[in-house]
């Protein structure tokens, strides 16, 4: 019953909101909520850090889901686009460090500069997405996987050998502008964009490409165009995620954006269910908190610090095992193409179906 394209267009009740307002209503709701969360969380640096990491991973998973889930293409170089965003945003912020917009208070001026840096990173990542996607998305099949894999490695090697990006040592001293509110504003934005694409005619065209590319083309869908656009949007948000990441970790180096990171994001998307936005969110939260949880657990059991650190090392084998079990038990992922509200128990309130 819950086919991908049927669910409502917005995250708000479609019936009661005047059409003109429906476009921006979620934003109006989100802003005060985020501000409140920021005030409440301001005290705990660990909570702030953890929530930021979770948020960045959600952005990565949800954006990758637009390509891997909705469009059915297979990109495995998302960390490459994240790296582009992180380094471009980082360098932008570093070079604007001394600049302050005199007509604004310092904090506000910082946030404006931060936004500029983020957008610069996102735009560069989107541009890379366009350049990588245009030739490889013309072809059918697994070419995209190979090209994105290569792209991720190229970016890493380029960064490692560029003085401006700090080579293998990485880039440090990037102003720590990021905040939970900012990260989750972008989380909110990427989810909104993903859901609105999914429910719009563009999303239907993407689903159609995923289901049968030949038929989609025969029915007048410009398959290459749609695939490239989905890929560009996905890359843009990966770049934003990288930019955010660069502004709350003390140092970014090429080691943060390896193939392992790309696979981590792919695992999140597959675990959540290819094509399910809420699935990607749940999986991203779960897989980000899992190592933290295990670490705390080992700590609580009185294990030595070194053992707790091993959690990071066993993470990938655990992911691998998780994937194998998942493929055997539930190959469509946790939610399949359905969204959270489609799989909730019957007695919980459900979203109304359909736009009209």
């Amino acid at each position: 019953m819950a086919a991908p394209g049927v669910t409502t267009l917005t995250d708000v009740d479609a019936g009661r909101v005047p059409p003109a307002l429906r476009g921006i209503l979620p934003v109006l709701i989100a802003l005060p909520v985020l501000a409140l969360a920021e005030v409440l969380l301001g005290a705990s640096p660990f909570a702030t850090y953890l929530l930021s990491v979770v948020g960045v991973n959600i952005i990565l998973a949800v954006s990758l889901n637009i390509v891997n889930g909705m469009t059915g293409q297979f990109s495995i170089g998302h960390a490459g686009f994240m790296a582009v965003g992180a380094y471009i945003a980082g360098v932008t912020s570093l070079s604007l460090k001394e600049v302050a917009l005199s007509f604004l208070p310092v904090a506000a001026s910082d946030q404006v500069l931060f936004t500029v840096a983020l957008l610069a990173g996102g735009t560069c990542a989107a541009l890379c997405g366009f350049l990588v996607g245009l030739p490889s998305l013309r072809l059918r099949g697994d070419y995209l996987a190979i090209v994105t894999l290569g792209f991720g490695e190229i970016i890493r090697v380029v960064v490692q050998n560029t003085e401006a990006f700090g080579r293998a040592l990485g880039l440090s001293g990037i102003p720590q502008y990021s905040s939970v509110a900012m990260v989750y504003f972008w989380v909110f934005l990427v989810v909104l964009v993903a859901r609105r694409i999914a429910g719009s005619s563009h999303g239907r065209s993407l689903w159609a490409i995923r289901e049968d590319e030949v038929a989609a083309e025969a029915m007048g869908v410009d398959t290459t165009g749609y695939k490239v656009r989905a890929f560009v949007i996905s890359s843009f948000f990966a770049g934003i995620a990288g930019g955010l990441f660069a502004h709350f970790v003390p140092i970014i180096n090429p080691g943060s954006f390896t193939f392992v990171k790309s696979m981590e994001i792919v695992v999140m998307v597959v675990l959540g269910g290819l094509g399910s936005t809420t699935g990607a969110i749940v999986a991203a939260i779960f897989l980000t908190l899992l190592p933290e949880g295990l670490r705390s657990l080992f700590g609580a059991l009185g294990a030595e610090g070194s053992l707790a650190q091993k959690v990071d090392q066993i993470r990938m084998p655990v992911y691998g095992l998780l994937l194998v079990v998942l493929m055997l038990a539930r190959p469509q992922g946790l939610f399949g193409t359905k969204e959270l509200w489609d799989v909730l128990p019957r007695w919980l309130p459900r979203k109304k179906k359909g736009l009209t």
């Binding site: 267009l9 429906r22 694409i197 005619s201 065209s205 689903w207 049968d212 007048g220 869908v221």
Partner: protein, 292 residues
């Protein structure tokens, strides 16, 4: 620089293949194929397995490029065009092995097709017009992301059109059902509904009756005629079922080994010796004592 051809006058060829040949390496899949479809035509394309019928369909719809000859749709030469561009000129098809968007609902299957015709996709344009279309395309994505009232109205309009087509094809009760869960006959009808969603001038049906029982075939014959009249189409049918082809097609082209061996009214084709030999086999000739 010229964009979409002007609306053709009745009687003009909507689809015209002249001297089309395709070679795959040394294999001649289609040789000197000629065909003209006008509005209101109901043509048949028959031939034994491997005769090149589906190859002919694929070259008409742009999946294959002709090695020789040219294809014109609505007066426009379409050699080198990709399928979605040809589709925008008014050529829609169904597939021999049903190719629905299986996980999408019946309604969404049709809406995909309706949408693609929003006039937003470039056919073959000059650089200026191309840039303008690209701008419109990006504006269109923003409209979807910002959920503007105009966009919402457009979505409602799409839903209305798709619902209408489902109704025409008698599929209204399956509106929200996933395509893969529909029974076979209804999947075939949904494919036709989807093809109609692209607002075609010419409809190509690839073995529409395959796998249907006699009753369903009879219904299908009535339906195809009705669609032609209601949507002012030209229809080209590939079919194995001789009864169906003879029953509804006004003119028939017969292919064998990629070559056109006969064309004409059903009665003429039926009595053509070459056709009987190629299509129905020598045994038919023997048991029926030669051509009528």
């Amino acid at each position: 620089m010229s964009t979409v051809a002007a609306a053709p006058a009745p009687g003009d060829a909507l689809l015209q293949a002249s001297g089309v040949s395709i070679r795959f390496g040394g294999l001649k899949a289609l040789t000197d194929f000629n065909l003209t479809v006008r509005q209101g035509d109901l043509l048949g394309l028959i031939g034994p397995n491997g005769a090149g019928k589906s190859t002919a369909f694929n070259v008409l719809t742009g999946v294959y490029q002709p090695t020789e000859g040219e294809v014109r749709v609505a007066g426009q030469r379409v050699n080198g065009w990709v399928p979605h561009q040809i589709n925008h000129l008014g050529l829609a098809r169904t597939f021999q092995n049903i190719r629905l968007f299986r996980a999408l609902t019946a309604l969404d299957n049709v809406k995909v097709a309706c949408r693609a015709q929003g006039g937003l996709h470039p056919v073959r344009l000059g650089p200026m017009a191309k840039a303008a279309t690209a701008m419109r395309n990006y504006r269109d994505w923003w409209r979807a992301l910002l959920l503007t009232p105009g966009f919402q109205a457009e979505e409602r309009e799409l839903t209305r059109q798709a619902e209408h087509l489902l109704e025409v094809m008698g599929l209204s009760h399956r509106r929200d059902e996933e395509a893969k869960n529909l029974p076979y006959g209804e999947q075939r009808r949904l494919e036709i509904a989807r093809a109609l969603g692209t607002r075609p001038k010419v409809l190509l049906l690839d073995e529409p009756a395959a796998g249907m029982n006699t009753r369903e075939k009879a219904d299908l014959m009535v339906l195809i005629r009705r669609l032609r009249d209601e949507f002012s189409l030209g229809v080209l049918v590939i079919e194995h079922d001789m009864k169906l082809v003879m029953g509804i097609c006004e003119r028939i082209t017969v292919l064998d080994h990629g070559e056109t061996i006969a064309r004409g009214a059903p009665a003429e084709v039926r009595s053509d010796r070459k056709v009987i030999e190629a299509y129905l086999g020598d045994s038919y000739l023997e048991s029926h004592g030669g051509a009528a």
